[in-house]
């Protein structure tokens, strides 16, 4: 088991931001990293119950799967669905290249 109270470093924050697809400037890293370290430290209190034999809850109230009939019902028109798109083309969302090569 890892140390339950890791110091979250500036490098960690940079890595996490990359995983979360947020470009952070050097100034933002300087600002956010120490704040995140304090927050992580203050939420580490939950580890007090880590060893207890308690079932985890993901929801407030018990959930059941919900089904509906497989019937066609009114939905957005292609025009409405694309209305907020930064860019569209031939009734599709136009996106930047997704592969590594130069376009």
């Amino acid at each position: 088991m890892p140390d339950p109270r890791p110091a979250i470093t500036r490098d960690d924050v940079a890595h996490l931001a990359q995983l979360a697809r947020i470009e952070l400037t050097a100034a933002e890293l300087d600002h956010l990293a120490p704040q995140l370290a304090v927050i992580v430290e203050s939420v580490a209190a939950v580890s007090a119950v880590a060893a207890q034999d308690v079932p985890p809850s993901s929801h407030a109230l018990p959930l059941q799967n919900v089904f509906r009939r497989d019937e066609v019902r009114p939905s957005l028109s292609p025009q409405e669905a694309l209305a907020g798109a930064p860019e569209s083309e031939q009734q599709r969302f136009a996106v930047p290249r997704i592969l590594g090569e130069e376009a």
């Binding site: 088991m1 890892p2 339950p4 890791p6 979250i8 960690d12 996490l16 931001a17 990359q18 995983l19 979360a20 697809r21 947020i22 470009e23 952070l24 400037t25 933002e28 956010l32 704040q35 995140l36 304090v38 927050i39 992580v40 203050s42 939420v43 580490a44 209190a45 939950v46 580890s47 007090a48 119950v49 880590a50 207890q52 308690v54 079932p55 985890p56 809850s57 993901s58 929801h59 407030a60 109230l61 959930l63 799967n65 919900v66 957005l76 409405e80 669905a81 209305a83 907020g84 798109a85 930064p86 969302f93 996106v95 930047p96 290249r97 997704i98 592969l99 590594g100 130069e102 376009a103």
Partner: protein, 503 residues
């Protein structure tokens, strides 16, 4: 002449029924008030004069025709900018959604329209509902009508400020950790977080899906009940919506008899760290309940002390996942990274999220990404979920002994704008008393309990009930409200300073 903008929704409904006024007249009065004071209050991000008046006209026609007349027909309302509104901008307080016009209505908005409540506009909020002050709104903070230099609470500070400033009799809020109740407490207004699943989440921009719940923001308990009856109930479009018949909240509010009611004061919420004036007003309200025939006991909920830590792991974890949809591809902002020819989708995503998200959103996404990362998952997220179970058990044990639990809503009165904006922990602690209800899914209400002696600012009284027993909040709340208003010699908001009127 009566100032229509100062009437409660129930009184407006009565005046409309009696034919003493029209929805167009009422709606115009609210719009006039908005234009006169909102420059200073900044409760609204968008005001829809034309749309609101058209809906008011339609409401008047419905009333004349006499068909399908709901109790709140023609009474105007403001909607927190987190709920999608077809044809009206919806930003959730973020630059990443600036200018977005949703192509559909949230279910609760559709219900407001069906019941004939003209929508005045969209209210300000902390970006994606992350905050307790509206200072994290990308469009600037809202101001507390009691003191414009102070916060109106958050995240739903636009809704609470709008109601407190008499810009609207009714507003919609959402509450993930206190975002309806804490703004209510610091502005001297009423806010209710229903049982999780009681009001549809369809069409709400999700913050933490297992915690989010929409509810009423009003000046009186009865108004909250009337609005709850309109927006609540099963919705097949929300898979967590509870499929059952709910009793009338308005009827519960009108009953207001608490003889023999068992009330538990939560030992862990209200001691150290709570402002003296907040505690004093709370104790007085408890005393009033005793005088009205309630039995009061102290109840211990030992795991509430871990609620704060569990919440600030569960919320960021869910938020980091929910906000992944803001990827610059289908809607919202798209920013190309500087100096990159033919950038990749990933680079565009990272540059867009850098430009479109504010500091607090970045903090929480990174925190959530951390809590969910392998190696830390068990120690953090897994433990937080265990705490959640323990808190639910604390509530179950407490509700075997008492009918409702009570506490102060927030530890302090409204603080000054800027005071805590760059101190995340100090900001997070505002929700210390409201978070447990979200983790357990139980309903909660905040209503004004008076003004703190030290600064003459409003204090809030929180009532919590078992899941599905929302009606108890209204019975207890309206009984207490009646006693307090009698003691004050009128509603608390009558004592708020008059706002300078412009235009």
């Amino acid at each position: 002449m009566t100032d229509l903008a100062r009437l409660s929704a129930a009184d407006l409904a009565a005046a409309l029924t009696a034919g003493e006024t029209s929805s167009v007249e009422v709606t115009q009065a609210q719009l006039d008030r908005i234009h006169a004071v909102d420059g200073a209050v900044h409760a609204f991000l968008h005001v829809d004069d034309e749309g609101a008046l058209a809906q008011a006209k339609a409401a008047d026609e419905r009333r004349t025709a006499g068909t399908d007349v709901s109790e709140l027909l023609g009474v105007p309302i403001a909607v927190k900018d987190i709920a999608t509104t077809k044809g009206l901008p919806t930003t959730a307080g973020s630059k990443i959604l600036e200018g977005w016009i949703p192509p559909y209505d949230a279910t609760l908005v559709a219900r407001l329209r069906a019941a004939g409540l003209p929508i005045l506009g969209k209210t300000n909020m902390d970006e994606f509902a992350m905050g307790s002050s509206t200072e994290h709104s990308a469009y600037g903070p809202s101001h507390n009508p009691w003191d414009l230099d102070r916060i109106p609470g958050g995240s739903g500070g636009g809704s609470s400020a709008a109601v407190a400033a008499f810009e609207t009799p009714l507003a919609i809020g959402t509450d993930t950790g206190g975002s309806i109740r804490q703004p209510g407490a610091v502005t001297g207004t009423v806010g209710v977080k229903p049982t999780y699943g009681g009001v549809s989440r369809y069409g709400l921009v999700a913050l933490a899906s297992s915690l989010d719940q929409a509810g009423p923001v009003t000046r009186t308990v009865l108004d909250a009940a009337l609005l709850h009856d309109v927006i609540g109930g099963h919705d097949p479009l929300d898979s967590t919506s509870i499929d059952r018949q709910w009793p009338s909240m308005a009827a519960a509010a009108r009953a207001a008899d608490i003889t023999g009611l068992r009330v538990g004061v939560v030992k862990e919420l209200g001691g150290e760290g709570y402002q003296a004036g907040v505690r004093r007003r709370f104790d007085e309200s408890v005393q009033l309940l005793v005088e009205a025939g309630a039995e009061v006991v102290e109840v211990s909920c030992p795991h509430f002390e871990l609620a704060f830590a569990a919440y600030y792991l569960i919320l960021p974890s869910e938020a980091s996942s929910n906000l992944a949809k803001f990827d610059a591809m289908r809607y919202g902002l798209r920013v190309a990274p500087a100096g990159v020819a033919a950038p990749s989708a990933e680079q565009v995503m990272a540059a867009t999220r850098q430009a479109g998200f504010g500091d607090e959103v970045k903090r929480r996404i990174i925190l959530g990404t951390f809590a969910l990362s392998s190696g830390y998952y068990d120690a953090y997220y897994g433990s937080a979920q265990k705490v959640r179970t323990l808190i639910q058990r604390d509530f179950s044990a407490a509700f075997e002994k008492v009918d409702v639990l009570v506490s102060p809503t927030a530890p302090t009165t409204a603080f000054r704008l800027g005071e805590k904006v760059d101190d995340p922990i100090a900001m997070y602690l505002n929700d210390i008393a409201t978070i447990p209800a979200n983790l357990a899914g139980v309903p909660g209400m905040s209503l004004p309990s008076g003004l703190a002696d030290e600064n003459e600012l409003p204090t809030g009284f929180q009532i919590l009930a078992p899941a599905l027993e929302d009606h108890r909040l209204y019975t207890v709340g309206s009984a207490l409200e009646a006693m307090l208003v009698e003691r004050w010699g009128g509603p608390l908001l009558d004592r708020a300073p008059a706002l300078e009127v412009s235009g």
